[in-house]
Subunit: 401 residues, 2 copies
């Protein structure tokens, strides 16, 4: 349904020709269209005028209660209600966290590679971004400790360290347990809070279970709190709702609820938050989540299988959750030129360099398998193989790695 | 329906005993509970997955188109689609405007009196607030011009001047046409942009028609644009939706759409925005607005009539729209002590001093007639009269003014 006017409806507008795996967007068939209408009606029936008036600043009680219980089932511990703040999405949670905890001129350390658009959200706050040392398992705690020491000895304030440790964007991987523990210890010791982007936790593919969050590993009594965890309903339900949350210290939750914008406007997405509470209470959330986990796993398998069959020289790990394959390309196929060739073959991807601050990722590519259905993903793999063949050194087989 | 948990659902929780006229909140009976469920279902039926995916950054085409046409009917000119940015409420529009156009250390000039919570939104951006000279007709353009000169000659940057010129919060008044023109000219000449909080435009009580916005008076080709107008669906439809907009220069709209948070999360309240587009297209918006204008006018008349009957020494102008009466109290009844006495009599109001940065408003009170129904408002006037009587000098009639 195109807009009648000049402007589009959605951020991504299919062009009908390109299978663009650069977009980390949900599949059309995996969005709960009828279910969300029912949840909204249920909330309005149940809560009446309370669903439409100014909402409680930190989020309406019914959603906070449901969310606390849900996190108790899928994470290492349940937050107390005073540790939860309902946001207008995970990006908004990051925006609010930066507004509350950074000052212009601060340094914010980020995982490398990391979610490329988070870099932009953080940079909007006038801070300097510095990449943390990392290897194929993720961020390196010892190297990061040394980095924090160096930054501090240069007189810099380093309030935050941002990372996506679970079914990561872009790698799909999970940070190992020992590194999780070490990072939480580092945060507690240094006062640099970990900003844990936990957007993909609900997209674990059974029998896989997401590891306990960094937030759940931290001492709840530590002051300042070592971890702020950003959560989202964008991947588990729908991004257009703009509904997410954060778990942090009661002091942070109070500070956010006390911002002028929240005092003036009330809870930041109140009606939608109550619809989500109704969706959760009805069992609709659980049913929907079971369906999308199966759906996204099938998409992962379709793309991964087709890539393995058609591009054996391209290496990647099969993620246990989330939306992304993180490819290592052959030495003679750098991502930049490949993106151009792929475009000519009708397929797109995110060049890995986009996920680094500067340098790195020249032979990496992020492929999102979320948006397209399995036959399209198989088609995309074929198109990508044709683009790789066009670039590969003639008469030379792809190097083993 | 109280929350089952520890936290409330709404920002204001009725206590059953106090008629608290301090809250500028909508009346329960004037919120479109069933209508909003229908609008949401219509949007999901019409736009399908597009209503739930990431939305176009500046707002979805259907709402932008409808809103541009609507503003063309109720204001001096219709914005081009490129001049509109859909926000998560007017408070969020103010937050975004400050984020885009101010730097810490800047001065922001504000009308006096003005919306008290806007002061907090603006102050969150690390700027210094300075009150503009004003009289009973509103902000004084000549005095404000002199103030801007003084601030600039002190080497200060003054990017914004915030005011509520139409059915103002707290005064209920409309800035006269000559002052509107003079302020727009001043903004064009000095580069200090007017931030026009236009939240109450739709709440004109027929036959009154809201005056043309400052935004509509400015030269559309002026660069930088002299006016940013903040709009809202909080009063015309429902505040819990967190949906508003701003009209500004295409450059400002592009800058907001280009913020990291919007690039990452898409349009800031996408699904709700499409439900509003459906509400507008169905005629539901017009029907609802006609109903609430009648309802709020009846509330205004109930409170104003009861006050005139029971508190002849209290002076106020009858507003042609909006939600507020702005009282001048007798000399022997300052607002601070009256608030205490009123509380004991089971009635509340906003002491006028809250609407000034510092000084002023000692004998002013803002009474919101939006939240309570006419019998409660009559009751409230009686309780306030009892409180005034308690404070008034014994044996002395209230002074004429």
């Amino acid at each position: 349904v195109p807009s009648a006017g000049e402007l589009p409806i959605t951020q991504y507008v299919p062009d009908g020709a390109t299978i663009d795996l650069a977009w980390g967007h949900p599949g059309e068939a995996l969005l709960p269209v009828q279910e969300w209408a029912a949840a909204t009606e249920a909330a309005l029936t149940r809560y009446g005028w309370q669903a439409l008036s100014y909402g409680h600043g930190a989020g309406p009680g019914p959603l906070v209660d449901w969310l606390a219980a849900r996190l108790g089932r899928i994470d290492g511990r349940a937050p107390a209600p005073a540790e939860l703040f309902v946001t207008a999405g995970a990006s908004h949670a990051l925006e609010l966290t930066c507004a509350a905890l950074t000052r212009p001129g601060d340094v914010v350390v980020v995982d490398s590679p990391t979610y490329h658009l988070a870099l932009r959200v953080i940079a909007d706050h006038g801070v300097r971004l510095v990449g943390a040392p990392a290897d194929d398992e993720g961020i390196d705690p010892a190297g990061t400790a040394a980095l924090l020491d160096r930054l501090r000895s240069d007189g810099l304030r380093v309030p935050l360290l941002y990372l996506v440790p679970t079914y990561a964007n872009p790698t799909g991987g999970c940070l190992p347990a020992d590194r999780r523990a070490a990072l939480v210890e580092l945060a507690a010791r240094t006062g640099t809070a970990l900003v844990e982007d936990d957007t993909y936790r609900e997209l674990a593919y059974p029998p896989a279970v997401a590891p306990p969050s960094l937030w759940s590993l931290a001492d709840p009594a530590a002051d300042p709190a070592p971890v702020v965890r950003l959560g989202s309903f964008a991947k588990s339900v729908a991004p257009g709702l703009r509904l997410g949350f954060l778990t942090g210290s009661p002091a942070l939750v109070r500070a956010l609820a006390d911002r002028g914008m929240v005092d003036s406007g009330g809870g930041v997405n109140h009606t939608t938050a109550l619809a989500m509470a109704a969706f959760g209470a009805s069992g609709g959330y659980d049913r929907h989540l079971a369906r999308v986990r199966v759906g996204y796993r099938a998409r992962r398998d379709a793309l991964a299988g087709a890539l393995r069959a058609q591009l054996p020289a391209v290496r990647f790990r099969l993620p246990d959750g989330g939306w992304f394959l993180w490819l290592r390309l052959p030495d003679d196929v750098p991502a930049g030129p490949l993106a151009g060739a792929a475009g000519r073959h009708g397929v797109g991807f995110l060049p890995g360099a986009r996920c680094y601050l500067a340098g790195g990722g020249s032979h990496r590519a992020r492929l999102s398998y979320s948006l397209f259905d399995p036959p399209q993903l198989v088609d995309a793999a074929g198109r990508l193989a044709a683009a790789v063949a066009e670039l590969s050194s003639p008469g030379r087989s792809a190097p083993a790695r």
